[in-house]
Amino acid sequence: MTAATTVVGSWRTASARAWSGAVPPTVLLSFAVLLVVLLWSLLPGVFATQDPVNGVPADKLLGPSAAHWFGTDHLGRDLFARVVHGTASSVTSALVAVTIGVVVGGAIGLVAGSAGGWTDVVLARVVDVLLAIPSFLLAVVIVSSLGFETVNAAIATGVSAVAVFARVMRAEVIKTRRAVFVEASVLQGGSRAHVLLRHVLPNASRSLLALAVLQFGLSILVIAGLAFLGYGDPPPASDWGLLVSSGKDYPTAPWLVYAPALVVVATVLSVNRISRWLRRTA
């Protein structure tokens, strides 16, 4: 009985602590940053009124100013507008990647952890294989097979994240399966599906959520890396990684690199901070 109370109890106090106003200020700031990013991706036109595709050639390579917050690029396009309009693609593709990782990896982990026996052994080797191939290399190979588009980069990133989710999910399932309240539920005649959905999944979800958030930040970096190498949508798309990549050709205009880079760092830092907070309050 003690095990059941501790597991359930810690979950309840954790959420109580998390939502009772004890949110650290840095976490609030991180949520604010993500809110801005979200708004940028939903309503780019509201935040950046200038044209992200057609520039004013006379205004090329201007430094940051009141008129152009992030300066202008070699075609005289407002960099701020390009960053804002590239947000949706950068953020959505990271979301797609995380979703693939959570769904596929979570399913593998759930099956491996709850079935045990040979199924577990086989799935463990499958996950080993996914882990053994360096994930960025794997992503590059997958995206080169599927074609150089941001969607494919997202899929590739998601596939390379499957293994991590599968491992965490499996570990969580095995941990929870041993809990007394799960045994109790089985003894009371709960079916396997009932036990999994009602008891195991909810208990695993917190760890999985923290990991998913962490992986979201990581996916932004991986997708930016793929875009940087030119494996995403070609210009005039303005994914963050692509902006940095095209900005690096103008060493005299360093803001072309640092402005989009700063946006990436701020976003990922916020995501990581939130993930850390979720883990700590779990």
């Binding site: 463990a124 882990l131 053994a132 191939i133 290399l137 190979v141 996916s219 890396g225 190498l229 640092y258």
Partner: protein
């Protein structure tokens, strides 16, 4: 070297072989079965001016008219004996192409690892020995920051400052000592963050133990305590983490080599991707998997020898890729993150 260790070693070795073979098959499937047939696309490109007959002959020469399973079997049986095939583009043996670029990437990865370890231990030392009020908080935030900055941004920043502003190295000489050093810094920073996180977690855990309190009560200074007592148990998990970051070093080399203009495995991959040189891609990816598996196998085999607390006899079957032996890791410090941060 008792029986249980040998049993454990044998099982791990077998697992490693299976994983390498499966990784080869998996890569083959990703490269050959996914939509798009780059070989025929290239051949049918009117610019190349092949007639249908010639195309058929080339396709037959490379065995591309065979069913996929037959192709896979042939390719796998060649791989097992160390034959990686012939590059579609240059017609050279892939083994030679890869052997040419490996030393450069190896040097880069090794330097990056050295940079990462020095940086991680320095940060970890600071978190234990600096006054709580000053510096500690900043140092504790560093790993998180290191994980949030894309490696290409670090690389571009280093080039901007040290090559363009300070003139320490020239971009057109990518193999110079300073150029290699800064490339290694850019590649090593994300790795150092992971090592530092594990170290800090371990150190925090150890310094709360009773033996640490006893040592302090007997008048041992914090620095001595750190060096003599805390460091050793805390750095054991570093072996495992370093082994896991091998993949990251290889994946990250792709981007870092591009930025610093180095010739290496990364640039070979990029060239093969743009020319759809599938045998080269297949070889590089499978070799990367071999390296990862071997390094992690070694780490797993060495670990029980380093840490006598590890018990192998009742070691339950471990999760995928999780280091074999039961480890006295205090808390799971990082959420088993693997994905390389480019």
């Amino acid at each position: 070297m008792n029986a249980s260790y040998l049993r454990f070693a044998g099982r791990r070795l077998l697992q490693a072989v299976v994983v390498v073979l499966l990784a080869y098959v998996f890569t083959f499937v990703v490269i050959s079965v996914l939509p798009g047939d780059p070989v025929t696309n290239t051949l049918r490109n009117p610019e190349n001016g092949f007639t249908e007959e010639e195309i058929a002959r080339i396709v037959a020469y490379y065995g591309l008219d065979q069913p996929v399973v037959v192709q896979l079997w042939q390719s796998l049986s060649h791989f097992v004996v160390g034959d990686l095939g012939v590059s579609l583009r240059s017609n050279l043996p892939v083994t030679r192409l890869v052997a040419e670029v490996v030393p450069s990437t190896l040097a880069l990865a090794a330097s990056a690892l050295a940079v990462a370890l020095v940086l991680a231990f320095a940060v970890a030392y600071g978190t234990q020995n600096l006054p709580r009020r000053y510096g500690q908080g900043v140092l504790r935030a560093l790993p998180s920051l290191f994980l949030s900055v894309p490696a290409f941004v670090v690389g571009l920043l280093l080039i901007q400052v040290f090559a363009f502003q300070l003139g320490l190295f020239r971009v057109i000489e990518p193999d110079g000592a300073w150029a290699t050093f800064f490339a290694a810094v850019a590649l090593g920073i994300p790795v150092s963050a992971q090592v530092a996180e594990v170290l800090i977690t371990g150190l925090d855990h150890e310094s709360r133990q009773e033996y640490a309190a006893v040592a302090r009560s007997r008048g041992l200074g914090q620095a001595r305590l750190f060096a003599k007592h805390l460091l050793k148990p805390s750095s054991l998990p570093v072996v495992t983490v370093v082994a896991l970051t091998v993949g990251e070093l290889l994946g990250g080399a792709l981007i870092i080599e591009t930025i610093f203009g180095r010739t290496g495995v990364g640039s070979l991959v990029q060239r093969s991707v743009s020319t759809q040189d599938l045998p080269v891609l297949q070889a590089v990816v499978s070799l990367a998997a071999v390296v990862f598996v071997v390094v992690n196998l070694l780490a797993d085999l060495v670990y029980p020898l380093l840490d006598p607390r590890v018990r192998l006899d009742r070691a339950p079957r471990k999760a995928a890729g999780q280091p074999g032996p039961e480890q006295p890791t205090p808390e799971q410090p990082i959420l088993e993150r693997q994905v390389s941060v480019p």
